[in-house]
């Protein structure tokens, strides 16, 4: 399975009467974007904003972020299940607009829990280095829900993260709309000349190299357009991620953008045939309130790694709630079967007495720290605020100085390996 990801570099973004690439400037037809989004009746309205690196802009209530891509050769298309047919992807050539991102934003829908949700992008100032999306040219879509989809008497939450079924349906529509716009923009790269081409192909290699898997703990992502609880785990080829088969967002844990540009998968791919024999990416995880759930989920991840004959695994874990137990159990089960592990993990500690783990097992003895989620930052006001006016947890005027934990800065502590933020423990 060979995929070329061809990068078309973009240095500027302007709203214009047409959607096109003009040299290295991306022109975006605001009305065309609005029409495309409002084809979906879930939305009463959508605002389209541009936020560029270095501008004095704060984006609040940010949700998923995706990268504009378009498939120019090979089966299927980008974002299968949302934009193209849900057929297997990951072959041929895919174009990307390097340096551009589509950011979805909006206040919480009725029936949606708010405190797992707050995400901020400061395009300038001391908060900017924490979010990778301060470095991208962002087309920000600010959605307003069509309240006709929300019944007067509220439904019971389906789960604590997703909220009511109506809220979950609405947020899926938000995700889908962002991906449709990303594909619209990505299509402009079809006729351009790429700056560089990254080839991803896990061809047979020296059998003496260590057989390595990436084991990626996801909290119910979309996979080929369907919500994927993964209690029994699944194997994907990294190329499928690069084509947008894996989609979704969890506060500072995952975003579609960093699954499309997944740095751990790309690093393993780059070293395939030289230092490692990269076998692919195992996705696992579910909502696991009971012990049996945790045993099922963690066993599945380790079992699939064993079935692949893996000798080593890089875990991307979730250090929160029940998920943290699943991470550690899966690592323990791998190590017990001789599969050596490392873990990318954010610190959730609060104060010196708190070691920063929800749960830990001694087998997790090789950890790369992706930053401290609960460290508080005070960020000065910026000139313009997009996405709303008020932060919700705690309530703060987003136009003023705000004090927020690092985890609110979009993808600051992401475990896909792109970041440099870390913490040393003295």
């Amino acid at each position: 399975m060979r995929l070329e990801v061809a990068s078309v570099g973009v240095d500027g973004m302007e709203l214009d009467g047409r959607t096109a690439l003009d040299g290295r400037t991306l022109l975006v037809d605001r009305d065309q974007v609005r029409r495309l989004v409002l084809e979906d009746p879930h939305f009463a309205d959508v605002e389209v904003h541009v936020a560029r690196p270095g501008e004095s802009v704060r984006i609040i209530h940010a949700l998923d972020v995706s990268e504009p891509r378009w498939k120019v050769d090979g089966p299927g298309g980008v974002f299968p299940g949302f934009v193209s047919d849900p057929v297997s992807v990951g072959e041929g050539q895919t174009r990307r607009l390097a340096g551009v991102a589509v950011v979805t934003a909006g206040e919480p829908a009725p029936g949606e829990p708010t405190h797992f949700r707050e995400q901020v992008i400061d395009m300038a100032g001391p908060g900017a280095p924490y979010s990778p999306f301060s470095q991208t040219l962002n087309l920000v879509l600010q959605f307003r829900p069509n309240l006709a989809f929300f019944p007067a008497e509220s439904s019971a939450p389906a789960d604590v993260l997703g909220g009511t079924p109506e809220a979950a349906e609405y947020n899926r529509a938000v995700t889908a709309a962002g991906l449709k716009v990303a594909a619209l923009l990505g299509r402009t790269a079809a006729e351009a000349t790429p700056d560089e081409v990254e080839v991803s192909e896990l061809s047979p290699c020296d059998p003496a190299l260590p057989r390595v898997v990436c084991i990626y703990q996801c909290q119910r992502p979309f996979l080929y357009g369907t919500l994927a609880a993964l209690p029994t785990a699944i194997l994907v080829h990294p190329n499928e991620c690069y084509d947008g088969a894996l989609v979704g967002w969890r506060q500072s844990q995952r975003s579609t953008y960093w699954d499309q540009n997944h740095s751990v998968l790309r690093e393993l791919g780059r070293r395939h045939g030289t230092d490692v024999n990269f076998l692919g990416c195992i996705l696992f995880g579910d909502i696991t309130p009971y012990r049996a759930d945790k045993e099922r989920v963690s066993s599945a991840a380790a079992r699939l790694a064993r079935l692949l004959g893996a000798q080593a695994a890089i875990f991307l874990g979730v250090n929160g709630s029940n998920y943290a137990v699943d991470t550690m159990l899966a690592i323990q089960k791998c190590e017990q079967h001789g599969i050596r592990t490392t873990l990318l993990y954010p610190d959730v500690g609060n104060g010196r007495d708190d070691p920063g783990f929800i749960f830990a097992l001694p087998e997790a003895d090789a950890i790369v720290c992706t930053g401290s989620r609960d460290r508080q930052l005070t960020l000065p006001p910026l000139e313009r605020v997009i996405g709303g006016d008020t932060l919700l947890h705690p309530t703060q005027d987003a136009h003023a100085e705000v004090t927020i934990p690092v985890r609110y800065l979009h993808s600051a502590c992401g475990v896909q390996g792109f970041g440099r933020l870390t913490t040393r423990f003295h």
Partner: protein, 348 residues
């Protein structure tokens, strides 16, 4: 640069007063260095001088109320710049005394205080986040290395130098976090670490998992019908309005509320303020979290003799384990004093 004034704290054994039979010795002082103070002085060189040695018996220091006040008074009289305590190695009472004297000397006398002990000792666990502790061996065989490390750390800390990592500098991890942007991405670091580990080459985790203390379950209650039982919850159940402001997460306290005359936790009077789950069902009937109604029924049936008149409560959500361990120890002390035989502990 003037020579720094140092007070060295020792127990009765290392001060040369005597061994266990002298463990009740009250605090005292000697001029200059004594015992381990001699190699310590050698390690300090001419930058600092041990002007006095303050000592106290192991029992006296941890059992006698006001012992640490007396020790601090002796230290304060010397107007020191530095307090160096121990090393205590893996000793129990001695380690606790070193930790407490150093913590209070920094807080109350405003001086730099450093000790040394074995990283797996009880006192290290209790004091490492508050006192800079040199990491030592478990016995006095490690004396030479220990005093050199304590001297170096004490001088560096007094000079306000930024210390390197615990492994590089030889101190017990303090829990302090240093935030920075790494030269390499997390992906590059993770792959390099995995390859080193797979090849059997040395590697260092960026962050060590905590070691949990195993708690041995108590033996079953032999005669439940004559037992006094207490109700404890970590489910954040408090009187409505939360008058004592129990935290919804990261609890810093536990509370006790009288339930002596009550048969039931009614929703008008009781609420869970726990921040880690959806409390709607609990707050329709707080007995679902702290089952007072069911315990009263069992009490009436004579399954156990009586329910303790106080309910203990805290919030377990995202709590720090050392804090929770302390809560447990404090609760047990009170329960023992109240002759409670068993506990029903509920959590969210």
């Amino acid at each position: 640069m003037s020579t720094l004034r140092v007070v060295h704290y020792l127990n009765q054994f290392f001060a040369g007063v005597g061994s266990e039979e002298q463990a009740d010795t009250p605090p005292g002082r000697r001029d200059g260095p004594v015992g381990p103070g001699l190699p310590l002085q050698a390690a300090l060189g001419d930058r600092a001088q041990i002007v006095a040695t303050v000592y106290c018996g192991d029992n006296y220091a941890v059992e006698h109320e006001g012992a640490v006040d007396e020790i601090l008074a002796l230290i304060a009289r010397e107007h020191p710049d530095l307090l160096i305590a121990g090393p205590a190695f893996a000793a129990g009472r001695y380690g606790l005394a070193c930790g407490e004297v150093c913590a209070r000397a920094e807080a109350e006398l405003g001086i730099t205080a450093v000790s040394g002990m074995h990283p797996e000792s009880t006192a290290a666990d209790l004091y490492r986040t508050r006192v800079l502790l040199a990491s030592t061996r478990d016995t006095a065989l490690g004396m030479a290395d220990a005093v050199r490390a304590m001297a170096r750390l004490a001088l560096a800390r007094h000079a306000g130098e930024t210390l390197g990592t615990p492994a590089d500098e030889g101190y017990i991890p303090t829990g302090e976090r240093v935030y920075f942007f790494h030269e390499q991405t997390a992906a590059e670091r993770a792959v390099a670490m995995l390859l080193a580990k797979t090849r059997g080459e040395p590697y260092a985790t960026e962050w060590a998992v905590p070691q949990y203390h195993r708690v041995e379950p108590a033996p079953p209650i032999r005669d439940l019908a004559s037992a006094r039982v207490a109700l404890i919850t970590t489910g954040g159940v408090v009187p409505t309005g939360n008058p004592d402001r129990l935290e919804a997460a990261y609890a810093t306290k536990w509370l006790r509320y009288p339930i002596g005359g009550l048969d039931d936790l009614v929703p008008e009077r009781w609420t869970s303020i726990h921040g880690g789950f959806n409390t709607t069902n609990i707050n329709e009937d707080p007995d679902r979290m702290a089952p007072l109604d069911a315990l009263r029924a069992l009490e009436r049936e004579g399954v156990f003799r009586e329910l303790h008149e106080l309910m203990f409560t805290t919030t377990g959500n995202t709590a720090a384990i050392p804090t929770m361990r302390r809560f447990g120890q404090e609760m047990v002390r009170e329960l023992r004093a109240a002759e409670v035989d068993g506990v029903i502990l509920t959590s969210a």
